[in-house]
Subunit: 574 residues, 2 copies
């Protein structure tokens, strides 16, 4: 999320992007011997890396340092605190101070672009280019996933309406449809109307494509073969006996994998300072794992000694899932974590407000920051439980005073005993990230990777896993199971999914399951109401509270202010 709306003296993200002078992607990647046979171009500044080249980079990684730096954040305000900006800025700065660095981030979903004012390509002087392409159709991955998702839905409904030989229980369909568009009216629908020619009537709904298991599968697959195996396992419905019906059962595996043939190739672009960046995959960080593709990570390890990557929402969501799910499934070890904090978010917690009132936040004083530390402290403490060093990055906004920033830095040093640095990469690019980058390098060099471990073992029971995350990370006293949760767990065990890691879906507005609770809530119990398998991705999703998988447009959508002139120059896209 850009903070351009805070900045009066600076040009907009798009203006900065337009004034940049990127080099053609073939020139950028020539030092890595990535040529015409290895790259699939999308215009002059975007490319996909072909499978054989990804394989070669994986081999190259064996001679590289494989230093993995994860960027995460405290519980953010609804505007975001600059995780992507910090990720891009840190990658650029590591290059700038003489380390070989690569960046890997998620690709934006088109839907939210039109809803709230905010793309997802970083911002200011720490963004990836071309930002307008990346925020719109990019290389078509989201569209390919939408098509793949909906082909499964169409083939399932065709099976139902043409004899239903698989005995699909139309009241136990686990595969809604998907669109990459914020469209509230599609949340809950009835389909199959209009008599026999319209198929079989049933309740249905639409997810945002980023929330589809297809996206999670793409981001966890190691190659095309693994992708196909994962697709085949996805459960789309249950039959009259409660037995799962998979994508393979409806004969869609091959066609779906074919639709994802290009989408699985990682996209590579450059930052505004010319650091190569993978932008690939973008699963939600609540019902899915919330980080870019493993394929991009593995390729990036072959191109630099450092990989800077980010995880969605606060550390209770994206970072926890990165440690407990992604590193487990992808056999990776993080060497340092950067925790993005902001004066704005600290005041938001200190004022204990809900919903966020940004005028009141601006007026709040240093005492509000100090009251807000309990949120930052809990996030830092959580990450330390994984055995990984933490560096706090205070992402400075234009209106932050020196005193405010220093208050945060002092707290980190004096009270938390963690390294911290101010970051002004938004306004200054790598010039604004040197202290942060140096602290990260120091921590990485002093780190013992053997100290890292996920918080639970594969063999722990499903309830033990859920309770570990709830108590250790969220700060809950325990967990209650309501709705179908207990029978869901029985079903998961019967189906042999008990060794899967758990993916808890929870609001990102609070460490707890209540969006209105700020700081570090205590004396509460997590309520889990439903558990279902993402059998293709390889984890169990536990639903808590109401998690929206299809956002809506606000009364005054960002789309209404967007335009393009006759020469193709766009406006209103930030």
């Amino acid at each position: 999320m850009s903070s351009s709306d805070e900045e009066e003296s600076m040009p907009s993200d798009y203006e900065i992007a337009q004034s940049a002078d990127p080099v053609p992607i073939w020139d950028l990647l020539e030092p890595w011997d990535l040529g015409n046979e290895d790259l699939q171009y999308y215009g002059e500044y975007k490319a996909k890396v072909e499978h054989h080249a990804v394989e070669r980079l994986r081999e190259d990684a064996e001679d590289r340092a494989n230093n993995l730096v994860l960027v995460t954040g405290m519980t953010p305000t609804p505007l975001g605190e600059g995780k992507t900006v910090t990720t891009v800025g840190l990658g650029q700065t590591l290059d700038h101070i003489g380390e070989d660095a690569m960046i890997a981030i998620r690709e934006p979903s088109l839907g939210p672009v039109f809803g709230v004012k905010g793309g997802a390509a970083g911002g200011g002087y720490s963004q990836v280019l071309p930002m307008e392409d990346i925020n719109l159709h990019f290389t078509g991955d989201l569209h390919a996933l939408t098509a793949a998702h909906n082909l499964v839905a169409a083939m399932l409904d065709a099976k139902v309406s043409q004899g239903n030989e698989l005995n699909v229980d139309v009241n136990d369909v686990a595969w809604p449809r998907a669109l990459d568009m914020n469209d509230r009216a599609l949340r809950e629908t009835v389909v199959g109307l209009g008599g026999k020619s319209g198929g079989t009537p049933r309740e249905d709904g639409f997810l945002l494509t980023a929330a589809s298991e297809m996206m999670a599968v793409l981001c966890l697959a190691s190659d095309l073969e693994d992708l196909k195996e994962r697709i085949a396992r996805i459960i789309v419905a249950y039959d009259d006996d409660g037995e799962p019906i998979t994508v393979d059962d409806i004969e869609a595996t091959g066609a779906v994998a074919m639709l994802l043939r290009d989408a699985i190739k990682p996209n590579i672009v450059q930052t505004i300072e010319g650091t190569p960046a993978f932008v690939h995959g973008g699963p939600f960080a609540n019902i899915a794992h919330g980080t870019n593709s493993l394929i991009a990570d593995k390729a990036a390890f072959g191109m630099g000694d450092y990989l800077v990557t980010e995880a969605g929402f606060g550390s209770d969501l994206g970072a926890e899932k990165f440690m407990n799910i992604v590193c487990r499934l992808g056999d990776m070890t993080p060497n340092a974590v950067v925790m993005v904090a902001s004066v704005r978010a600290l005041k938001y917690h200190g004022e204990d407000m809900w919903p966020a009132d940004f005028d009141a936040i601006e007026e709040a004083g240093v005492d509000a920051i100090e009251r807000g530390f309990e949120n930052l402290d809990k996030h830092v403490e959580n990450l330390q439980k994984f055995g990984v060093p933490v560096v706090v990055a205070v992402n400075r906004f234009p209106d932050d005073t020196d005193e405010e920033v220093q208050t945060v830095l002092d707290h980190c040093r004096d009270d938390l005993d963690v390294k911290a640095a101010e970051s002004t990469v938004f306004g200054e690019g790598s010039e604004g990230g040197e202290e942060l980058a140096e602290r990260v390098v120091t921590e990485v060099e002093n780190n013992d990777p053997e100290e890292f471990s996920p918080l639970y073992e594969d063999e722990a029971s499903i309830k033990e896993k859920i309770e570990t995350v709830a108590t250790e990370i969220y700060g809950a006293d325990g967990v209650t199971y309501t709705g179908t949760a207990d029978e869901d767990i029985e079903r998961m065990e019967r189906l042999g999914f008990e060794e899967f890691p758990v993916c808890l879906s929870k609001t990102f507005h609070s460490l707890s399951d209540d969006a209105s609770e700020k700081g570090a809530p205590e004396d509460w119990t997590l309520e889990v109401r439903e558990i279902y398998p993402s059998a293709g991705a390889g984890f169990l999703v536990a639903l808590t509270g109401d998690v929206l998988t299809m956002p809506g447009l606000p009364a005054d959508p960002a789309a209404a202010d967007m335009d393009i002139d006759e020469d193709g120059n766009i406006s209103g896209l930030f």
Copy 2:
């Protein structure tokens, strides 16, 4: 539609495509001075032509011959008679015999690819490459159109559910949603369920993206500015007073145009013999005009002396609309028409069968062919009414006998007095199209472009226009207006749309409005039940019979036989 399923001794379309040796698109286009600044690459073999380069080609066209050859066909069997194959083959052959030729065809819709066994990139040795990319996501145009279409729908429903200040009548919404997927269950739906958070409940449905007015608009726009003006005019609903609500009224014009920024740039690829081909836009030929984009046509005129293009379905649909709508709106004059006939289709009409029985067709004799001539004759006669010379191409299938083919050629020469030639471009490439190409050149050289005229004037009344097409082209005795047709016409006149050309939506299985009637039906009346404006495209759609705008998957969809191996080689896509 490929005829590969007829051919036992030949490799499949995909095998032929894989064995081809295309040149990189930058090398192919170098003779036209199209370089890195003029092209937006999509891999090594696909590119979009940038706006400034299209402008330059338009200027170059002033020094070119601008010979326009339209390929159309008789009433086809459900498998198609090879119009795209003939179009690609004729373009290649014109190059081969020393004329400078370009090709422009529609881009395939993803939906039908999974339903029936057939892509839409030509076939055999007359196909465009890379056929698998073109048949799947290609350069993302269909996906961009889907997003643009659904953004309008989401913004409209957001207006309705957030105060409805425009007084949208939810029972008079003219803008369904769209997907590029054959999905029967989405034909008729109810959306907006689930209480207040889900918006306002109402009936809705989904079109195939190719059937969206957005596609028609893209294909008729002359440039980005014109595109925006057309988008702004699109009518999405009516208010409580029956007044139209446009895309501009819901403030979606700029964002929608922005989404189509790349989609409006024409795509260029090459045929298997290296002739450049535009593949851009793909509107339906019943509720829309059924030909590729005008932008592609105009650019192509700057690159060759001949442009070979095709129109969808039989000449009663695509070609009639090309003459009466596209040439009118785009200020073009066709110099010759190629009418594709096949022994198979002639037997189908001669046997007067419905539905098609391909075993019976194979067994039918020369007498069936002769009885089927009445369909071919009517199509030829119709096209001659526009003042354009007609050449019949007999697209030879492997099992056709010499006697059968000669019977058709003799009939054309002796009974119709039109030029005709056998075409074997599917199996032989340009070697199989020489006679056809030479006859086309002769007709073009002898043609007087002044003789061309559409069948009705702008000033004719709506009913006069409809009746002209019905009686002159379809062979009806007259027209009856049922349903809302009469009040629709009043509304169109009141809204000032009476000078628009008319786009009749009718089955492609018959010259009449009854799919089961073969040959050249007489003594029947066309029933028009509804008329609505495509105000952005600039024509009125008149609905006759049931026209399906969202196909379904068959019981045994082609998708079930598709696959991709671990090296990315696909199978089952023809």
